[in-house]
């Protein structure tokens, strides 16, 4: 009949009291479990976001260096107009960069414009009207009415990956379309010109005035929100066609073979962005090219997850503290009620620590049963929480996306030979994908239960120790003889 045996007998003899204590413990454990679940869900979400949001490095001509060079040129050579010489990115350089372990893929883009030959481009009558200084008048030689976006694949373009632009017929451009005359045109243009997938169209390049036959492999619908760019050199959104980078290069001229205006390298782990950037800088000529990184969406997701984590930390502390206070008070109350029993044991010569140990054992048993109940209840909480957090993540990511695409609006003027570095394929598309992938599996695993059990044990221990003061001071005579 040791103290463990006594604990069992006591729990069994006072079933009602034991049951109430078990339910109370279960309730407190469930609160703490909820905190732990929020915490681990936030952790998982951050990890998932890190894995799936991704980040990118954008490689493009070093404009600053190019302008500097131009200014240097202009000084001594009076008379001849200085020219801005932007070096396009060589695909061989890109191949080198894709060998970096952090880089998982790339999208090489080249933009140029051509003039419609076998069909007419959609003409826009903006409020500005056909301005006398209209782009076409002044620069008809360098600016065509059809804008060609050379891409490695259309699905890598942010408007497509965010689903703001959609392939409605046929298919998009893929890497298999390299060195072909395949193009994807906009649905409004197709409608106006009665063009369908499989049809052939003709265009004339602006620089060499050569005529090329292009085969339509797909028709896409541009984003309804995409505003037609106003002002000179403007083109209607429907006049944008997509082609392989190689085709766009051909239109620009033979010197552009195997190059790209800019290249976006996908980095799988956003945490690796700076490492990848450093490694990439070693492989490129930084005076010609500049490299910029973008992991802002990851940072944003991380920030929002951090706040959830910190809230959950506070919840755990608060609930644990409340649990300690409540349980301690109740344990003290129960122990007061059992003063007589303690006195009897003391009179028999029982060591005081063994009496404390008996109460602790009773509480541990209560805790174990309470944990079982709490884990069952926790599963329900976990499911609800998982849904809640997933939608929260998606909201955050959607916000990230809209902020970014908003910022990108009106970025570089399309149609220029070289796009300004920086704002190429924004993270928006990738973020959207991340939101879909970020399935928060908030479930109760063994680690969580061990954590919870540990916390519960600590609470029970503390409650017993605090209540034990009464046991350790109790004079048996006072409770036994009166």
């Amino acid at each position: 009949m040791n103290f463990i045996h006594r604990a069992g007998l006591s729990l069994w003899a006072k079933k009602g009291r034991s049951l109430l204590l078990i339910l109370l413990t279960a309730a407190i454990m469930l609160f703490i479990l909820t905190g732990l679940l929020i915490h681990s869900a936030a952790d998982t979400a951050t990890t998932n976001a890190r894995k799936s949001v991704g980040a990118s490095l954008t490689l493009s001509a070093n404009r600053q260096a190019a302008f500097k060079k131009m200014r240097q040129q202009s000084k001594p050579s009076s008379g001849s107009r200085p020219t801005l010489n932007m070096t396009p990115v060589k695909l061989s350089t890109v191949k080198k960069l894709t060998k970096l372990s952090q880089v998982t893929g790339y999208n090489a883009t080249t933009q140029t414009s051509v003039n419609a030959k076998s069909f007419s481009a959609i003409s826009t009558t903006s409020s500005m009207g056909a301005s006398p200084m209209g782009g076409k008048m002044g620069s008809s030689s360098s600016q065509g009415d059809i804008q060609v976006n050379g891409v490695t694949a259309t699905r890598l373009v942010d408007s497509f990956s965010t689903k703001s632009a959609k392939i409605t017929k046929g298919r998009g451009i893929t890497s298999a379309d390299a060195n072909t005359n395949h193009v994807v045109i906009e649905s409004e243009l197709a409608k106006q010109e009665k063009l369908a997938v499989g049809d052939t169209i003709k265009i004339k390049t602006t620089s060499t005035k050569k005529v090329y036959k292009l085969k339509i492999v797909g028709i896409y619908k541009a984003a309804s929100t995409t505003s037609t760019q106003m002002g000179p050199n403007s083109t209607d959104a429907s006049n944008q066609i997509y082609a392989a980078t190689s085709l766009a290069n051909t239109f620009k001229g033979s010197s552009y073979k195997n190059t790209a205006d800019s290249v976006t390298l996908s980095i799988s782990d956003p945490g690796q962005v700076s490492a990848a950037k450093t490694a990439a800088k070693k492989l490129i000529n930084t005076s010609k090219y500049s490299i910029s990184s973008d992991d802002s969406s990851y940072q944003q997701v991380k920030t929002s997850m951090k706040s959830i984590t910190s809230i959950s930390n506070k919840i755990i502390w608060l609930v644990t503290l409340a649990g300690i206070v409540i349980l301690t008070l109740i344990v003290m109350l129960l122990i007061r009620e059992r003063r007589h029993e303690i006195g009897i044991l003391l009179a028999l010569g029982e060591a005081r620590w063994k009496i404390v140990a008996q109460f602790f054992t009773e509480l541990v048993f209560t805790l174990i049963v309470g944990l079982v109940i709490a884990s069952a209840g926790g599963q329900v909480v976990a499911n609800k929480l998982g849904q809640q957090l997933t939608s929260q993540t998606q909201t955050t990511q959607a916000q990230t996306m809209s902020t970014q695409s908003g910022g990108q609006m009106g970025g570089g003027t399309p149609g220029q030979g070289t796009r300004p570095s920086g704002g190429m394929p924004g993270q928006g598309g990738q973020t959207q994908k991340a939101a879909q992938k970020t399935k928060l599996t908030t479930s109760i695993d063994l680690t969580t239960m061990v954590e919870l059990g540990g916390l519960g044990l600590a609470i029970m221990f503390l409650a017993t120790v605090l209540a034990a003061g009464g046991i350790l001071r109790l004079q048996p005579k006072k409770v036994l003889i009166d």
């Binding site: 009949m1 069994w12 009897i344 028999l348 036994l480």
Partner: protein
């Protein structure tokens, strides 16, 4: 065996001491009866012998060693066993388990011996049925007998009992006093019984009377 030196005790203030400068000796193989009017301080005195409280003055020695030196917990565990007026059984247990608990705590030679515990209870007239049900379902007299059995089953050489027969009928009282005599003489224990019953006192080897704070031998110890 037990020596009381200049013992004094009071509750409120030293001026109102229940007894003062008490010097007594109790020996093994003897049964002692302490008599006195109600409120004389018998229970208080017994609680000091039982190691449940510390004297305000003087000391108690067991075989020449002060109780404070032995340590009250160790003294209670190994040297003394108490029968309380209010039984003080563990309420969530059967009589058998109450005995087994006492045997375990006192580290008795009979620790864990269920048959021994049963035999002790049988000796005091409890049926097998009564032994295994919760002690709270037993009558006062039955509970008192369980409390006596719990004390007798332990190895302690000193047995103190406060009105152990207060709730028993004459037959049971006689049987229990006989048992106290038996363990004192056969197991060489020292039994000290507080009682207000003349027949119980008469059955004991020695009688000590407490009145007005003074202890007085009614029968001079041998």
């Amino acid at each position: 065996m037990l020596e009381i030196k200049s013992l004094g005790y009071w509750y409120q203030s030293p001026d109102e001491s229940l007894f003062n400068d008490v010097n007594l000796k109790f020996e093994a193989d003897q049964t002692y009866a302490i008599i006195g009017s109600s409120g004389a301080g018998k229970t208080t005195f017994l609680s000091l012998l039982a190691g449940l409280d510390q004297p305000k003055a003087g000391e108690i020695l067991l075989d020449g060693q002060a109780l404070t030196q032995i340590g009250l917990t160790a003294y209670r565990r190994h040297q003394v066993t108490t029968v309380f007026q209010s039984y003080n059984l563990l309420p969530y247990m059967s009589p058998i388990n109450n005995l087994l608990t006492a045997l375990a705590i006192t580290e008795s030679q009979h620790k864990g011996d269920v048959a021994y515990a049963k035999q002790q209870l049988q000796q005091l007239g409890l049926t097998d049925d009564q032994m295994t049900q919760n002690v709270q379902h037993l009558s006062g007299g039955q509970q008192q007998r369980v409390a006596i059995a719990r004390s007798m089953c332990c190895d302690a050489r000193l047995v103190v009992a406060d009105e152990p027969t207060g709730n028993l009928d004459e037959t049971n009282t006689e049987a229990i006093i006989a048992l106290f005599q038996k363990i004192a003489h056969e197991q060489h224990k020292c039994v000290i019984i507080v009682t207000h019953e003349a027949n119980v006192a008469a059955a004991c080897d020695q009688t000590l009377k407490l009145s007005n704070g003074e202890f007085e031998w009614v029968t001079q110890p041998a």
